[in-house]
Amino acid sequence: MTTDVDTAPPRTRAGALSLLVLAGRLVLGGVWIVAGALKVTDLDASVRAVRAYRLLPDVAAQVLGAGLPVVEIVLGVLLVVGLGVRVAGALSVLLMGAFVVGIASAWARGLQIDCGCFGSGGALAPGESPTYGLELARDGALLVVAVLVAWRPSGRLALDDRLGTPKGH
């Protein structure tokens, strides 16, 4: 275990868990940052992607589509630097849960769309079929990671620790 620069090698289950949570935090945060960055340069496309789900009234689709990319970047940064990890994790759970519901509903209604998760604007590429199963599996896995991070926010390499912010334990 040479990755652990902060403390002595973990010998307990708790130590292993906190390393696992650190990894989850970095993965989840990284995905948020990438997803947000790919969408933030074309907010029109992001709004179109939300509209493609045909779930929300148009004003809500505009607010969500335009707001989401920036929210994702901020959440990602918070998780990666470890600031307010438990709250950022809980918000990630809500958001990822909403994505899972949205994709599942698009699948159930037989919509021919792309999830728009990484900036494709919701339109399928020519000749492409929807890949709802894959998208659901990915977001489901990330949802589990988010739950883990919210449940046991790790102080490892987190700003929360340096600032003395209470982090739950």
């Binding site: 708790a14 496309a45 148009d58 990319p69 438990r86 709250v87 399928l124 919210a150 739950g168």
Partner: protein, 229 residues
């Protein structure tokens, strides 16, 4: 360290959870981020949309206005499947229009800017509006598809777009119209409208509002003749 050794029944409400100030602060930062995104989106919306002559806010109508069938074609000049549709069914559309059985409304949407390093979807659509203004839209459309850039490659330059316009028979003002991107706002607004109307992919072809799933020449002719009744 040693986190997770104590059991707490509900981590979110337990006394040892994050301070209320932290929760409010983080949530406020995240909500504010969303507001910033929405603000930028609102600010980017074109302030004044100039609709080109011979066009409407939604697209470019071509053909006999009294024709019983209306073919709506949603297409993006950067989209390979749209070029395939044009190669396969473009002539049929022209014949139906020439035979006065149908009119066409072309909706040159721009939804593929992300596949182009220089926003070719948007630029080509705005240039096609210049062609509509000079009454040479159908000719220009064919030239744009014949010269379609590969996805990921740079699009046609304003000079190339202009010389295709001259080939199509556009007037002397065409070069200035293209280089000033005069109808960029029209492109943005008709793309937004198409998305509000549920457009999910290009090409999308409708006859009298009914989508033709596989718009082959035969399927188009059948849909148009069904609309004559």
């Amino acid at each position: 360290m040693a986190s997770g050794t104590k059991k707490s029944p509900n981590p979110l409400t337990a006394r040892s959870g994050p301070a209320r100030g932290t929760v409010i602060g983080i949530v406020a930062v995240v909500l504010f981020a969303g507001l910033v995104g929405f603000g930028v989106y609102q600010a980017q919306k074109p302030a004044d949309v100039v609709v080109p002559p011979n066009a409407t806010a939604a697209g470019v109508p071509v053909g006999n206005p009294a024709a019983k069938a209306t073919i709506d074609i949603y297409q993006d000049f950067q989209c390979p499947a749209c070029k395939q549709f044009e190669d396969m069914s473009g002539q049929t559309v022209d014949q139906l229009v020439a035979g006065r059985q149908a009119k066409v409304v072309y909706h040159p949407v721009a939804i593929l800017d992300r596949t182009s390093p220089d926003r070719y979807s948007s630029r080509s659509s705005a240039a096609s509006a210049c062609a509509a203004a000079d009454n040479v839209f159908p000719q220009y459309l064919k030239l744009l598809y014949a010269n379609q850039p590969t996805e990921g490659d740079p699009g046609l330059t304003p000079e190339q777009l202009t010389s295709l316009g001259q080939q199509a028979g556009a007037g002397p003002g065409f070069a200035e119209c293209v280089s000033s991107d005069r109808y960029a706002g029209w492109t943005a607004s008709l793309t937004d409208q198409a998305s509000k109307d549920g457009l999910a992919a290009t090409p999308t072809v409708k006859v009298n509002g009914q989508q033709v799933q596989n718009p082959t020449p035969d399927a188009l002719r059948a849909a148009v003749s069904a609309a004559q009744a």
